[in-house]
């Protein structure tokens, strides 16, 4: 029976291609398909994800793309390319993660010439893609979840956000004369933290000021923020209780690069028990240690020009810690070694699940797909 499913699945693919579909479809019952194209790239509604392999012993070769079944029931696509010292196998299937599913794209590198290989694996992302702490965003959508090794190999800017929060320009409605940064925010939708990192002299001290303006809640007790600045005691603030709705305010922290990595980290998270779990942040100022001006002057926007670093969070002068461009992995393979990288890609209209942490594993994703395909009524199979 499984063979017949596979045959039917493989037979239907050429007809899909003939009907000008761009490759092998990735489907799950009841949802729109995405595709693995003839070049082995994942084609989604937000753009295309491909991989580029480079390094010594790597040669050009087109992949062979075919429809396959995983675990005898899960419809999948696979692209295999013999790239000299390394065989590149890209496998994709739809995992039926609630509510819209995610495409699981596994890149497998196999050393085949029985010698050490040092290669680079570059993710080809859409030009407008923005790399974050755990995920890549296109616009406000989190479209690709990254394995954590990605960050270790990346070049970083001197400062910027490194989170999966969202920039919301014009969200704030500050009353009275104040710094223009209070009109914009970054928001950690779904509880994700807002995180900034600033390059500093290792072990140095700074004065960090964080600015807030609550323009959604009128009552106190709704949005409580837990603010952590490296080297300083954490502070919890309820902006409405402390300053009022639409009233800009700021907190001062005596910061220190405590771990000596030359980067000062600032994070705003939902405080324990807060009703609204979406943290917000409007502005960040860095001043030399012990030299922060009066807080009223900072809030009024009179000291932004003299700050060592001034960030209009979510506004025009904001930036990601990661420069634009592709994500690159440096991979060392010993003779015969195999390494796998698993990426989760957003399906039509959806996001990848990053807000609550990735509770899915490769095993549970595959089980989910297996369970759904196994029991889906044959008469309504796509």
């Amino acid at each position: 029976m499984r063979i017949s499913v596979l045959l039917a699945w493989m037979l239907c693919v050429p007809s899909m291609l003939a009907a000008a579909e761009p490759g092998v479809p990735l489907i799950s019952p009841g949802f729109s398909p995405s595709h693995l194209d003839a070049a082995g790239r994942l084609v989604e509604d937000w753009g295309t994800l491909g991989v580029r392999l480079g390094g010594e012993g790597i040669v050009d070769a087109a992949p062979a793309v075919q429809a396959i079944l995983l675990d005898e029931v899960v419809r999948a696509a696979q692209a295999i390319a013999e790239r000299g010292s390394v065989r590149l196998v890209c496998t994709a299937y739809r995992a039926p993660v609630f509510p819209l599913g995610v495409d699981v794209y596994t890149v497998r590198l196999e050393e085949v010439q029985n010698r050490e290989a040092h290669v680079t694996l570059e993710l080809e992302l859409p030009p407008e893609a923005q790399v974050g702490a755990q995920a890549v965003k296109v616009g406000r959508r989190s479209v690709l979840a990254l394995p954590q090794e990605a960050l270790a190999d990346q070049d970083l800017r001197d400062w910027g956000y490194c989170d999966d929060a969202t920039s919301l320009k014009g969200w704030g409605k500050p009353q009275g004369s104040c710094d223009p940064a209070f009109r914009n925010i970054r928001a950690g939708m779904g509880g994700v933290p807002i995180v900034y990192r600033f390059r500093v002299t290792p072990r140095s001290q700074s004065q960090v000021v964080l600015g807030f303006c609550e323009s959604h809640w009128a009552e106190s007790g709704k949005r409580l923020l837990n603010c952590r600045v490296e080297g300083a005691p954490p502070q919890t603030v309820d902006p409405v209780a402390k300053w009022g709705q639409h009233k800009p305010g700021a907190l001062v922290f005596a910061a220190r690069d405590e771990n000596g990595d030359g980067m000062l980290e600032v994070a705003v998270r939902p405080a324990a028990g807060t009703a609204d779990r979406n943290p917000i942040l409007s502005a960040v100022w860095l001043f030399p240690a012990g030299k922060a001006p009066a807080i009223e002057e900072i809030v009024a926007g009179k000291r932004s020009a003299s700050a060592e670093r001034y960030v209009d969070v979510g506004g025009d002068n904001d930036q990601s810690l990661f420069p634009p461009g592709n994500v690159e992995y440096r991979v060392a393979l010993s003779p015969g070694e195999v390494k796998e990288y698993v990426f989760l890609a957003a399906c039509t209209g959806g996001d990848v699940p990053v807000s609550t942490g990735l509770t899915w594993t490769s095993q549970t994703l595959r089980k989910a797909a297996r369970d759904v395909w196994r029991d889906w009524p044959a008469e309504t199979q796509p």
């Binding site: 009841g30 599913g101 209780a241 028990g273 609550t356 549970t364």
Partner: protein, 499 residues
């Protein structure tokens, strides 16, 4: 997997249950010839197709690995002490464990000898990694064995229950152990704590093997909830009313309708036809669940009633399902239904998903809806009293007004997502009648524990369940990485609004 039918799980008594199951076995042909003919002619379900609700409950395989951890003998100083009779205690706990796993339907792989050194721990961890049981139980026999607990937790990464009989742990051990991910520590002499831990493992497996029908809209698809693993099969809302239309008045339907009326303390609005339609809705739901290989459902019932697609809201039918351990949720509220599953799978009793109303004069919470289960004390326990009422918002069909026992403790449970659960507790202070109140037929008034102001109670469509189960529910959350939160202890209205 088919499980023998347990009459105690029915809404009817054993004699009546056996009667209609046996009628079903004979096709009930002599009783309902006209209906049988109708069924054969029109492709309707046959009159004798009685579905045992027990077969609709998930019956997962649950595998548990267990071992005693002891220090090399003989003991000299150090807890539990030289006088602690290791052999006698281990024999006692082995016996209790055997009884528990048998009671819960868990397959046990217990180490035949206690593990007493690093090598033994390493070898066991290797076996656990290979066998991947669904849960692990360590029974501690020496206070110095806690470092091995940490090793098993970190290296095997499998949900772990640690039984530390009094005499094998101090506060620090229990605290540190409890903060390890996927670990539940039972520091007690009370074996029921261990059995509750085993129930947690079984409940998680039941979640993983559950397919819930999400009856709403027009879509047909299937997805899976993170962490819990519940499969959510969306099917068009019309499926239910079209199947209901096909459902004949079988012997099962007639018997159930009669029993509903006979067992009610009072019948207020429903007619005989209403009770027959209620039973038809119940049988329809069972057929749909069986056809879709599903174990639970949640339906856009209000939309269906609003569109006048069925002559009866499903409230009464949902009560019957809930009493048999089949989760039946209202208003297509997905996490409301998952919360109902929590009480069914872990606590073995129906929950009551409700609309919460703060009663500001008495500072209580009124939990109101139309689908309370009747077997509040457990699926195998005697039912509570109920009145047959209609669905108050539409004045249609059958909804039970279930009289909750005044003075008894209750728990309120609500998954806000697969990653967070609200847990509160209280005491039933009364049952509110409609009229004079409006709203829903079952309205339970609750004095909340440890919540200064009833207006602060968190959640909506939270599930009320009889008994104070706070510790067990919290432990389940901790074992499976779910954050548990509670309504605020002190009034958030005390300081007034900043505006």
């Amino acid at each position: 997997m088919t499980v023998p039918h347990d009459c105690r799980r029915c809404c009817v008594n054993r004699r009546q249950c056996l009667q209609y199951l046996s009628m079903a076995a004979f096709g009930a042909g002599t009783l309902l010839p006209s209906l049988r003919l109708r069924a054969e002619d029109s492709g309707q379900p046959a009159a004798g197709d009685v579905i045992d609700p027990e077969t609709l409950r998930p019956q997962p395989e649950v595998r548990l690995a267990a071992a005693f951890f002891e220090f090399p003998r003989p003991y000299w100083l150090g807890w539990p002490g030289t006088t602690y009779d290791l052999d006698a205690h281990q024999a006692e706990y082995r016996s209790k464990l055997d009884e528990s796993v048998q009671r819960l339907g868990i397959t046990l792989a217990a180490e035949s000898q206690p593990i007493s050194d690093e090598e033994g721990v390493s070898a066991w961890i290797a076996r656990l990694k290979e066998q991947q049981p669904h849960g692990v139980l360590i029974m501690l026999q020496h206070i110095h064995c806690w470092k091995w607990v940490t090793r098993v937790s970190e290296e095997a990464q499998i949900p772990l229950i640690v039984f530390a009989p009094v005499g094998t742990a101090f506060t620090g051990h229990v605290g540190r152990g409890s903060r390890l991910p996927r670990v539940h520590v039972v520091s007690s002499l009370d074996w029921s704590g261990v059995e509750n831990g085993l129930k947690m493992v079984r409940a998680k497996r039941m979640f993983e093997e559950t397919r819930m029908l999400w009856i709403r809209g027009k879509e047909r698809n299937e997805t899976v909830l993170e962490r819990l693993g519940v499969k959510v099969r969306a099917i068009p809302r019309d499926t239910f009313n079209l199947e209901f239309d096909k459902q004949p008045v079988t012997a099962e339907v007639q018997d159930l309708a009669s029993l509903l009326r006979a067992n009610a303390q009072k019948i207020v609005e429903p007619t005989e036809t209403d009770t027959v339609n209620c039973a038809r809705a119940y049988v329809t739901a069972k057929r749909l669940l069986a056809a879709e290989k599903a174990n639970a459902l949640s339906m856009d019932c209000l939309g269906m009633v609003g569109a006048k697609l069925v002559p009866t809201p499903p409230c009464g039918a949902w009560t019957l399902l809930q009493d048999q351990g089949i989760t039946a949720g209202c208003e297509a509220d997905l996490y409301g239904a998952v919360s109902l599953m929590m009480t069914s799978y872990l606590l073995g009793r129906p929950g009551f998903m409700n609309d919460p109303v703060p009663e500001t004069v008495h500072n209580t919470l009124i939990a109101a809806h139309c689908t309370s289960g009747i077997r509040l004390q457990g699926f195998d326990k005697p039912p509570a009293d109920y009145l047959l009422r209609d669905h108050s918002e539409s004045a249609l069909g059958v909804a039970m007004q279930v009289l909750w026992p005044v003075g008894e403790p209750v728990s309120l449970v609500r998954f806000t997502s697969a990653n967070e659960m609200i847990i509160d507790t209280g005491i039933v202070t009364g049952n509110v009648d409609t009229p004079p109140a409006g709203g829903c037929r079952t309205s339970v008034e609750i004095k909340m524990d440890g919540i200064e102001d009833c207006r602060d109670v968190k959640g909506f469509h939270q599930v009320v369940v009889l008994g104070n189960h706070r510790r067990v529910l919290e432990a389940f959350c901790e074992l499976y990485g779910i954050q548990h939160v509670h309504s605020p202890q002190f009034s958030t209205f005390a300081e007034g609004s900043a505006t």
